[in-house]
């Protein structure tokens, strides 16, 4: 949803000339909106899929949806990536029924922190740093943000420091793997069409 949407919304409300009842609301969407919605839907699908995978420790998840965030970041920029990530968090929480529950705020803090890390890491020279770097940095920021929320709000006990090495290892491994998958998806992006491989 772009800033122009609200404009369009008002236009839609006034759109009596088009034969609509005065109360009908027409959301005029841009192609970018559609794209963000599609990508968020794919990310949501991955989130649902991932929830079916049993985890040895609550909180240790591969974060497959972040592959989508990385691809969107590389192709459409940070703003679109932020939309996709945040839409996925909100829609996912509605889907799993934990909207505004602690789990939702954990996802949200993780997503916000990793978006912050991506905003910085995307300015690294592209010649040397690719999706793998972005993914690892975002994964570390994700877990750091979540641990902060856990410590400051949910479990203010220093004992959770014992879990940090586990979460950090998971962040490194899954961050690298997700980044690799995203990079592999985008391998063809900067090649001319004739050289692309299936």
């Amino acid at each position: 949803m772009t800033a122009s949407t609200t404009e369009n919304l008002r236009e839609g409300e006034r759109g009596k000339g088009k034969g609509k009842s005065p109360s009908s609301i027409l959301l005029n969407t841009t192609p970018e909106d559609h794209h963000i919605a599609k990508m968020a839907a794919v990310a949501l699908g991955l989130t649902v899929f991932e929830n079916a995978i049993p985890s040895p420790l609550p909180g240790v998840k591969p974060g497959l949806a972040n592959i989508i965030t990385l691809i969107v970041l590389a192709r459409y920029g940070w703003r679109a990536a932020a939309w996709v990530a945040l839409l996925r968090v909100v829609a996912g929480s509605l889907l799993f029924g934990n909207f505004l529950a602690p789990g939702f705020f954990l996802s949200l803090s993780g997503a916000l922190c990793s978006l912050g890390a991506l905003a910085i890491s995307m300015h690294l020279p592209q010649r040397w740093f690719g999706a793998v770097t972005h993914s690892i940095l975002a994964a570390f920021a994700h877990i750091a943000g979540q641990m902060m929320v856990v410590y400051l709000w949910l479990i203010p006990h220093s004992g959770i420091a014992y879990l940090i090495p586990i979460f950090a290892t998971a962040a490194l491994v899954f961050g690298a793997v997700n980044g690799l998958i995203a990079a592999r998806f985008m391998d063809n992006d900067d090649k001319p069409v004739t050289e692309r491989q299936a």
């Binding site: 040397w128 690719g130 770097t133 004992g159 490194l172 990079a183």
Partner: protein
Amino acid sequence: MNLYEPFRSSIKAGDWLTLLLGCACVILLTLKLWNGEIADRAIIRSGGKIFKEVSLSRDLQIEVPGPLGVSIISIEKRKARISSDPSPRQYCVRQGWLQQAGEIAICLPNEVSVELTGNAKKYDSLNY
């Protein structure tokens, strides 16, 4: 290197650097946070208040009264455990021996807990 070949163009030089730094970070964190300090005291709490503080150097058994009954805490060979407890699910008993500073066994129903500490409480820097 057949497994690596398809990914060669996906990983850039800086990515290896990030990976390396990430590994270093994880190893440092693990060493820093898991350097299991040997515990030398056990703090036994009942109903949230400290019931007794004992050294782990002598083997002994302590009976701690709680709202459901008596929990028995054993100390043996510098380790401590809750060996008997009236709680229905027996979580704290099944937790077994505690050895490192910072480890804790809590019997919520009977409001009894055992926490091991070292000479210095390790994570105070986080608390304050």
